[in-house]
């Protein structure tokens, strides 16, 4: 391991050596290294194989911005080696190769690249039908990205909300200055950066000939930030999207922070771009900033002999840095004809570096999977070179031909990207309120300008928040000299000039996409896959836009770029799947069910007992529960049933308008069925309205429907303004239904203050009293069709009530029953369940509920629509049916009712009835089949046609005498 002396290596701790392996060979690095920097220190540059042609690839940005450094970690595929911190004994493997990383058999694919033209998959597998299914597994194997560890024990990922006045994204010079300016008294600022330390480009770039300015400015800013208690710094953290109203998901280690900023300042910087020429993807070819990161952040010499291809003065600063670090600079190849003299250019000349102006790097040469030299040629016109070549031997080529602003977050916020022909640069505008940009993302390159713009953006933010009322200065004029060269693209007869490294796309691929008719940049993307790889066009968008513009005779501004969508960087599924909430509601009797061996199921958030006993004995258990209710007495937990208090002088009037029935004349002490329709006349809920006093109704609603019913009640009364109060007391009451011929006998033992005799407390009567000394509301309802009492008590007494009833019914062998038995019991009585036997179109007449609709009211919700429907011919009817064929498979819910080959209806409920000894069910049928005695055909399981007979409802106890006992 070779390192440059201090002060090189800002991020590494030379005291802490870390051992790791790559491709089963052991290496050493330092704490603070990334995998790639540690490998580079060991002269290992080859990191991966490319996606399509399996070409050798190495570090390109050293900033985790590209897919070239993807490696396989034991439990993490596609880790970015130039981002992933080194850890002890880490086992790192290359990925996407067959054989070895060094000699990948898949690399032969490159030889056949002319047979893999752009749009290859679309063209090759379009016809015949089914061919894709045949080829897909093979292709996916070749183009795979890493291996998933299926034995992985997932780590714990967490989520957390955070709130700040100002969030500054990016801690480079502009971001640090913005944070400092924004942190005026009381203004809470979050400064986020994806790197381990603050400073951004100041940590590795060279601003002056002397080479000390960046570090001096950084130290000053960092010192002030650390001293400012209003600034929170979050490093190693990625702001992975911008969502409406400055909602920023920030990923930091194993936590997803959901940050609400009142103001956001994006100082996201700019991404250096590659030159496009033959073999521009060889290991050893990298961004000038990548070489500087290696030197300054990790103390690694990026090569022995370097060539720099540049279109700006940064290339000269790069040359100075390289020579300082002991790299021999063989030449600076400047695309510009006559670069303006500057201190950096003069310093490079003084060091005797050969400078070739008006030249391009036309091709790179390879030896042993690494750069061995470059071919340079004189530029004749845009993208066209002289035929005369000059070769220069080198093992490092630094590219400094320009930048693209890191526009992703700004564009997600609605910012528009335009292209300025003069500066050959994308620029951002049209940003929403509460969002500022500053620094190189806004095309400022001079340090002084960046600091001023950072301060200016911060002042706009603090003014917006009311912390300051400062006069906002005009934006600084954009600098005269752009770092971008307008056409660093040089086609080669042998191709391999990569525009998109992720997807192995070359100049010809992009141009051919336009020739195939895909001229729009969005279509080019989808057809060629340009920008669809892991780096999401960070290094291909600019070159692709320029190529498409030229190929279609448009300006780059007209061509534009594709939409930048979240996330900015790949994120672990754990970040989305971390701490989640699955609400669970339990009745107060929940554990009594568990103790009795109930199989619980969840209905919405509620836990409910399905039946009691072994799951393997399901049918038998359910049938026994049914029989016990019919012949004896059973107890069911109905706590989940919705409960609504409707009170006040207009309580009756309100219910009259809300439900279909009439309620004003309902006697006190009586319950009445309450059917709810929406304005379209569709049945949406039901329950009973119990009148406890003139101004007090207690209304039940379905378990799943009550929240919506309650909300809907409030919405209507926000309009009607009746003198009524509505309260949702669902959770406040626990309830049971004690049902069966012996129900009264049991109840009488522990209820002494209510006269339970049928004549005193008849069917559909309601009473208040006590049961086992617990204050209770009693309702005589007949959902299961037997003598029964619903007993509602305050929630915290639920368990005591259950115990008391089970104890009181011991002699009568009372048994609990679950909702499966309840479903059969109600089906035997022909009672419908809203949502199961009704759908989004069911009106009351279709489900035989016409009797529950009052025609004597001036208004009720849905009334007018129902009146219109009543004048029309019915389309379908819900009827009861029985299956008399003992050998027929029992139809299931949603099985179709057929008339010949026509679908004419469907089954909504069907069960074997232990009481009747045969399958019974409900189904929608055509009106002419609704008459009892009609025959219907049901297509049951296995396409077996089952004949069923339509019968009169209810199936059981047709005169409904039992519930009125």
């Amino acid at each position: 391991m070779q390192r440059l002396p201090l002060p090189y290596g800002l991020l590494i701790d030379r005291e802490q050596t870390i051992g790791f392996s790559f491709e089963n060979k052991s290496y050493q690095g330092f704490a603070g290294d990334t995998i790639a920097s540690a490998l580079a220190a060991n002269n290992q540059w080859l990191l991966s194989r490319s996606f399509k042609y399996h070409r050798p690839r190495g570090a390109l940005t050293m900033a985790g911005q590209d897919a070239n450094t993807m490696v396989q970690l034991p439990s993490n595929p596609n880790a970015l080696a130039d981002k992933e911190p080194l850890s002890a004994d880490l086992r790192v493997m290359g990925q996407n190769y067959s054989g070895s990383l060094k000699t990948d058999r898949g690399a032969l694919l490159g030889l056949f690249s002319r047979f893999l033209p752009v749009g290859f998959y679309y063209k090759a597998f379009f016809k015949p039908r089914g061919i894709w299914e045949k080829w897909a597994p093979l292709i996916r194997k070749k183009a795979g990205l890493g291996i998933i560890d299926q034995q992985l024990e997932p780590d714990y990922y967490d989520k957390q909300y955070k709130f700040y006045d100002v969030v500054v994204v990016g801690a480079g010079p502009s971001g640090m200055q913005a944070a400092l300016t924004a942190a005026v008294d009381g203004c809470e600022v979050l400064l986020v950066d994806e790197n381990p330390v603050l400073g951004g480009s100041l940590n590795y770039s060279r601003l002056d000939a002397k080479g000390s300015m960046a570090r001096e400015v950084r130290d000053l800013l960092v010192h002030d930030i650390e001293a400012n208690s209003n600034i929170t710094c979050m490093t190693n953290a990625t702001v992975n999207a911008w969502f409406a109203d400055n909602w920023l998901p920030i990923i930091c280690q194993k936590r997803l922070y959901k940050v609400r900023a009142k103001q956001t300042i994006l100082c996201t910087g700019a991404l250096e771009q590659q030159a496009v020429f033959h073999n521009n993807d060889l290991p050893g070819v990298m961004m000038s900033s990548a070489a500087q990161r290696l030197i300054h952040l990790y103390g690694v010499r990026p090569g022995k002999t370097a060539v720099i291809v540049t279109g700006n003065d940064d290339g000269y600063a790069n040359a100075l840095d390289l020579t300082d670090a002991g790299v021999q600079v063989a030449a600076i190849v400047d695309l510009r004809d006559k670069p303006k003299s500057s201190p950096l250019v003069r310093a490079a000349k003084r060091r005797g570096i050969e400078i070739k102006t008006g030249y391009a790097v036309y091709a790179a040469q390879k030896r042993r999977n690494h750069l061995a030299g470059v071919v340079i040629r004189k530029i004749l016109s845009q993208g066209v070179c002289d035929t005369q070549s000059k070769k220069i031997r080198c093992d490092l080529l630094c590219m400094a031909i320009g930048y693209t602003p890191t526009y992703q977050l700004a564009c997600q916020a609605g910012g528009q990207l335009s292209y300025d022909d003069k500066s050959a640069m994308f620029t951002l505008n049209n940003l929403p309120d509460g969002l500022q940009i500053a620094g190189s993302v806004d095309s400022y390159w001079d340090l002084g300008n960046c600091l001023e713009e950072g301060a200016r953006a911060a002042t706009i933010a603090t003014n917006g928040l009311g912390f300051t009322q400062a006069v906002i200065p005009e934006p600084i004029a954009k600098e005269k000299h752009s770092p971008n060269h307008s056409w660093p693209i040089f086609a080669h007869p042998k191709g391999k000039e990569f525009v998109d490294y992720d997807e192995d796309l070359t100049i010809a691929d992009i141009v051919n996409a336009t020739r195939d008719g895909y001229e729009h940049i969005q279509l080019v993307k989808r057809y060629s896959t340009c920008g669809m790889g892991p780096s999401q066009g960070r290094h291909s968008a600019l070159a692709a836009a320029r190529l498409v513009a030229a190929a279609t005779n448009r300006t780059v501004a007209e061509t534009g770029v594709t939409t930048a969508r979240p996330p900015f960087a790949p994120e672990h599924l754990g970040h989305s799947a971390g701490r989640s909430f699955y609400p669970a509601r339990r009745s107060n009797m929940h554990y009594r069910h568990i103790e009795a061996g109930a199989q619980m199921l969840q209905a919405g958030a509620w836990y409910r007992p399905a039946f009691y006993g072994e799951a393997t004995d399901r049918e038998n258990r359910i049938n026994n529960e049914v029989n016990n209710v019919r012949n004896n007495v059973g107890l069911v937990d109905v706590s989940t049933l919705g409960g609504l208090e409707v009170r006040g002088p207009d309580a009756g009037e309100f219910l009259n308008r809300f439900y279909t029935f009439g309620f004003i004349k309902q006697p006190v002490g009586r319950a009445r069925y309450a059917l709810l329709t929406n304005e379209a006349g569709v049945v949406i809920d039901d329950g009973v309205a119990c009148r406890f006093s003139h101004q007090h109704y207690y209304v039940t609603a379905t378990t799943g429907g009550v929240d919506r019913v309650y909300q809907t009640m409030l919405k209507w009364n926000a309009q009607w303004r009746l003198d009524v109060d509505i309260a949702n007391v669902t959770s406040a009451y626990c309830g049971v239904n004690i049902a069966g011929p012996r129900a009264r006998q049991v109840l009488a033992k522990i209820c002494s203050d209510i006269d339970l005799r049928a004549e005193a407390f008849p069917y559909m009567g309601v009473r208040e009293g006590t049961v086992a000394d617990i204050p209770a509301r009693l309702i005589r309802v007949g959902f299961v069709g037997e003598l029964g009492y619903e007993i509602h008590v305050p929630q915290q007494y639920g368990e005591a009530l259950w115990d008391a009833l089970m104890e009181a019914g011991r002699e009568e062998t009372i048994k609990p029953f679950g909702i499966e038995a309840q479903r059969i019991l109600r089906l035997e009585k022909g009672h419908i369940i809203i949502g199961q036997d009704t759908d989004a179109m069911s009106n009351p007449m279709e489900v035989q509920m016409g009797w529950a609709v009052s025609h004597k009211k001036p208004f009720f919700v849905g009334g007018r629509t129902i009146a219109e429907l009543e004048m029309k011919m019915p389309i379908r009817s819900l009827v009861g049916f029985v299956v008399n064929d003992e050998n027929a498979p029992i139809p299931l819910e949603s099985h179709l009712v057929l008339d010949g080959d026509q679908m004419t209806g469907r089954v909504t409920s069907c069960n074997y009835s232990p009481t009747l000894g045969k399958p019974i069910g409900l189904a929608y049928v055509q009106p002419h089949c609704a008459e009892p005695g009609s025959q219907i055909s049901i297509k049951s399981s296995g396409a077996v046609m089952v004949e069923a007979n339509v019968v009169t409802l209810p199936f059981y106890d047709s005169k409904t005498l039992r519930q009125e006992l």
Partner: protein, 233 residues
């Protein structure tokens, strides 16, 4: 401490099984049993200063709403909070929160004194005043400590940091995906957030809170510690 069993009382906290698992010691309060302490009675108040949760489900509380409710309550001697979503401590130690222009939530002091609540509950109903069974519909959990807001930021999207959510402020919001009312009413000098939420979801919320607190070493404490914190200035 007597050997009392919470399942012998008529009224039972939905959490009593959780408390038994945590080896809680119980004490009588009205017709229910509340957790006195789980562990070291002397240590629990100190845990409460950092981060803790207590089950107050069996403490008295009630609610009233309707157009006549505020005036009626004032006539009964209730000192009303000035605006909706604020709460005001009463002279007798109970707390009154105003949830809207027409709705009040009233809860007892940490001793469980029910004087005001009983008095209001037993008043003959006045026109436009409707009682709400808050003791039955809503659980009452208290989260105490300097790290409470930090813990809440993992389960609730409202900024509850003490300099942003002042003493006496009320937030009706979503906590761990269930609806609830959060009232900031400190125990002496210790920040305290009272959560009133769907009683059927109490166990769910309790588990969520303990899980979110784990990172900060938060634990469950009994009413003895809560009272001791309330008595500390």
């Amino acid at each position: 401490m007597s050997e009392q069993k919470p399942d012998q009382a008529l009224r039972r906290s939905p959490l009593y099984r959780r408390h038994l698992q945590l080896n809680a010691r119980f004490e009588e309060l009205g017709d229910a049993l509340v957790v006195s302490a789980y562990g070291d009675t002397g240590m629990e108040p100190r845990l409460g200063v950092s981060l803790a949760v207590a089950d107050l489900c069996c403490l008295p509380r009630t609610g009233f709403k309707g157009p006549g409710a505020p005036d009626w309550a004032a006539d009964q001697g209730v000192e009303l909070p000035s605006a909706p979503n604020t709460a005001l401590a009463q002279a007798d130690g109970s707390l009154v929160a105003k949830l809207s222009h027409q709705e009040l939530l009233i809860c007892s002091d940490m001793q469980g004194h029910s004087g005001l609540i009983d008095r209001l509950n037993h008043q003959a109903p006045a026109p436009g005043v409707y009682s709400l069974p808050r003791a039955d519909s809503h659980s009452w959990l208290a989260v105490t400590g300097l790290l409470a807001a930090e813990m809440f930021s993992k389960i609730c999207g409202v900024d509850l940091r003490t300099h942003k959510f002042a003493q006496g402020q009320v937030a009706q919001t979503s906590i761990a995906k269930i609806n609830g009312v959060i009232v900031r009413h400190d125990l002496g000098a210790t920040p305290c957030f009272h959560i009133f939420s769907d009683i059927a979801s109490t166990e769910f919320l309790w588990d969520c809170l303990l899980d979110a607190m784990e990172e900060h070493l938060g634990v469950a404490i009994g009413v003895a510690a809560i009272r001791s914190l309330a008595a500390t200035e």
